[in-house]
């Protein structure tokens, strides 16, 4: 198909399905934690706007959670259908980690999600808060296991190769492999940032349309506090993550920096713009800042780190993709820090809620958390190439022996079904957001239970018919 080989088709399919999937869990992680904070504040202060915000965001959460579940089901089978030699080679290590994710995280989420979404009037406030907390903890446990598995593929540890297969020798070393702590922090914080930007953009959308109430102001304010504090912290975590990568995966760093070779006694420049050319082993149209690369990565004026030419051509990742996805991530990160700072300056005199340029910028920045997150994943996953398990198994040796035809069929179907189904789902989600938080929603008591609108069901149904109709009518 389109002249692609079976390997390229399999990689495209995995990249497509996982990139689509990760959007939903990222928002799930962030919103679950946000809901814990909102409910905690409601219980502590008894200000109704926290409860109103809780009800509003829990509907968006429910829709988003459901789409994460169905798109995740595909992921749990693709390792076998498409990457059978990887599964055979590393299944003894990644398998138990994934199974623990199912047992400890999915169970916890499934067990408490119903009470969280539908049990507002059926259990006491303490037990309800506990349920929200458990769902949030479940999302973080899930993140922990899946990132332990992913990090092991990046920086494998605690294993021996026996009969050509990876055998676990020390589970603590497997789980707490060298890149795991950095990746876990970086990804969790990225999920929080993406959610904060999404929440802020929702508030900005309403304020720009003259829909102004204390709940909308509160959610903008909370999201901007989150952004101003966490965006700079994310930059620091990213810096540490980069140093860790330099130590364990130097070829990836060289690709991220577009750094081909060292010149004796000279510091490495930071390349702002370039078109890396893998064949000619050089950058074209490069714009460089002298020595800044050295300063960032070695924290010294003329420190050096390995260039791409120090690795055999077949051991180099695709430089242009890694180079540019990294720049997209960092560029958006810088914009997030600036937006946070701008918001802080506008706090005086409540200009935060009135400045149209600021609100427009916040609206535009809404999806950038998710874009940066996907760009970051491209950086780290493409940067791991040509390995699937770094230094141990090449991606080309991991792929199942399928022909082009079955892969072309499956990829086309995935593209059609995902765009249709999740397109509609995301449209429903945005309709809900457009409806906005309703003040005093909880005053009359929410009906729930058998025979009522808000019966406990699957997650997607917490958003009732009515919510969506009103939203549609409004738009």
């Amino acid at each position: 198909m389109f002249g692609l080989t079976a390997l390229e088709l399999a990689r495209t399919q995995f990249a497509f399905t996982v990139a689509f999937h990760i959007l939903f869990p990222a928002i799930t992680i962030g919103l679950a934690a946000y809901l814990v904070v909102l409910e905690g504040l409601w219980l502590r202060t008894k200000q109704t706007l926290y409860r109103d915000l809780y009800h509003f965001w829990s509907k968006v959460f429910a829709l988003n959670f459901g789409m994460g579940v169905v798109s995740g089901l595909v992921m749990s089978y693709q390792f076998g259908t498409n990457w059978s030699f990887f599964s055979d080679f590393a299944g003894g290590i990644t398998g138990p980690l994934l199974a623990y994710e199912v047992l400890t995280a999915f169970f916890l989420e499934a067990g408490f999600l119903g009470v969280m979404l539908f049990g507002w009037n059926r259990v006491g406030p303490g037990l309800h808060f506990f349920s929200t907390l458990m769902v949030s903890i479940g999302t973080l446990i899930s993140t922990t296991w899946i990132l332990a598995s992913n990090s092991w593929m990046q920086t494998p540890a605690g294993f021996e190769i026996v009969d050509g297969r990876a055998v676990p020798m020390d589970w603590l070393a497997v789980i707490f492999n060298p890149s795991f702590p950095y990746r876990l922090l970086h990804m969790s914080v990225a999920a929080f940032l993406a959610t904060a930007l999404f929440v802020a953009a929702s508030a900005a959308w309403h304020l720009l349309r003259g829909r102004d109430n204390p709940a909308i102001r509160k959610m903008l304010s909370m999201a901007m506090w989150m952004l101003v504090v966490v965006a700079p912290i994310q930059a620091v975590i990213g810096d540490f993550h980069g140093l860790n990568t330099l130590k364990h995966q130097p070829a990836k760093i060289a690709a991220m920096e577009g750094h081909w070779e060292n010149h004796p006694g000279e510091g490495v420049p930071l390349i702002v713009f370039a078109l890396p050319d893998q064949q000619r082993e050089e950058n074209r149209f490069a714009i460089e800042i002298p020595r800044l690369g050295s300063l960032i990565l070695t924290h010294s004026w003329d420190g050096q780190f390995p260039g791409l030419k120090e690795f055999a051509p077949e051991d180099r990742p695709p430089v242009a993709v890694v180079f540019w996805s990294f720049r997209i991530m960092v560029g958006l990160g810088v914009l997030m820090i600036l937006l946070g700072a701008w918001g802080l300056l506008l706090r005086r005199g409540e200009a935060l809620y009135r400045s149209r340029p600021f609100l427009r910028a916040t609206l535009l920045m809404g999806p950038t958390g998710l874009i940066a997150l996907i760009a970051g994943w491209f950086t780290t996953e493409v940067g791991r190439q040509p390995w699937v398990v770094y230094g141990l198994q090449r991606t080309a040796d991991a792929v199942s022996n399928h022909g082009v035809l079955p892969l072309a069929i499956s990829l086309l179907l995935f593209i059609v079904v995902y765009f249709t189904v999740f397109g509609v789902g995301i449209a429903y989600m945005l309709r809900l957001v457009r409806k906005g938080p309703v003040m005093h929603e909880g005053d009359t008591g929410l009906v729930g239970g058998p025979g009522h609108e808000r019966q406990q069901m699957r997650p997607l149904s917490a958003a009732t018919d009515d919510d969506l109709r009103t939203a549609a009518a409004r738009s």
């Binding site: 047992l103 179907l413 997650p459």
Partner: protein, 335 residues
Amino acid sequence: MGIDLSLIWVLIIFFGVMMYVVMDGFDLGIGILFPFAPDRHERDVMMNTVAPVWDGNETWLILGGAGLLAAFPLVYSVVLSALYLPLIFMLLGLILRGVAFEFRFKAHDHERHFWDKAFIVGSIAAAFFQGVALGAYIEGIPVVNRAFAGGAFDWFAPFPLFTGLGVVAVYAMLGSTWLIMKTEGPLQARMIQLSRPLIGLLIAFIVAVSVWTPLAHASIAQRWFSWPNMLWFAPVPLLVVFFTVQLLRSLRAEPHVAPFVYVLGLVFLGYTGLAISVWPMIIPPDISIWQAAAPPQSQAFILVGALFIIPFILMYTAWSYYVFRGKVRAGEGYH
């Protein structure tokens, strides 16, 4: 060696897949039966009978995948790539049907028919391709150097296509008896009527597979018809006859829970029969559970968690079924 970890894991996975077949079986069955209930309110009731519980059923499928990868990575890698297209079609069917389930109640009236169709097509596709995968698995999967050595369309053969249809019939039967238990009035009456031909189909399917597999595979004939195996396994066909008679009898007078229980029994017997046929091969015809096992460190590490946590999952599941017990009535909108 002390404990046979592989044996324990086979039992856990056998149990997990059984849970999946039974639980997702009846809710996929409802999608298959949708065309027989064109009325919107009846469709609402049908969906509402499984609305509170189907979400948990999918977890068993994920557990099946992850458990297989953890305990028998070779099986996970070989079988899943051998059954590539049927499994991809099944996953797409499950997505289509899973969201249709949700979006149907959120759609405007003029959009609803689209999600009704997605629900029907998704349910039938998921059931049919599970059956195809089962048939192809029993037919045997050629393995060379720890990799699938067959073709991408090997499953497109008479036996797998037949088992595909068979599983659709089995799930329809589970669905109809589930609805007999959970509904009343005209809908229940229609399901009782539908159950009779479905029983015929189900029995025809069981008999056909019981004749077809030993004829096609000498090892299966040997397993069942050699002495004294014949004696040990005799209860399986005898119980099938017994349950069928009981099932037909239970449909006659004001049926409630009984038909569903007898169908569960039949499904369990059929499933056990297949396990007897392939044992101890986990990738028929050549690879046994011990040859396919993950390193003992892997099997032991996850076994600790599984034995501790699965009881909690069962308790939660039982509790949610308890909460939503009883008949579902029209207008008693869950949505």
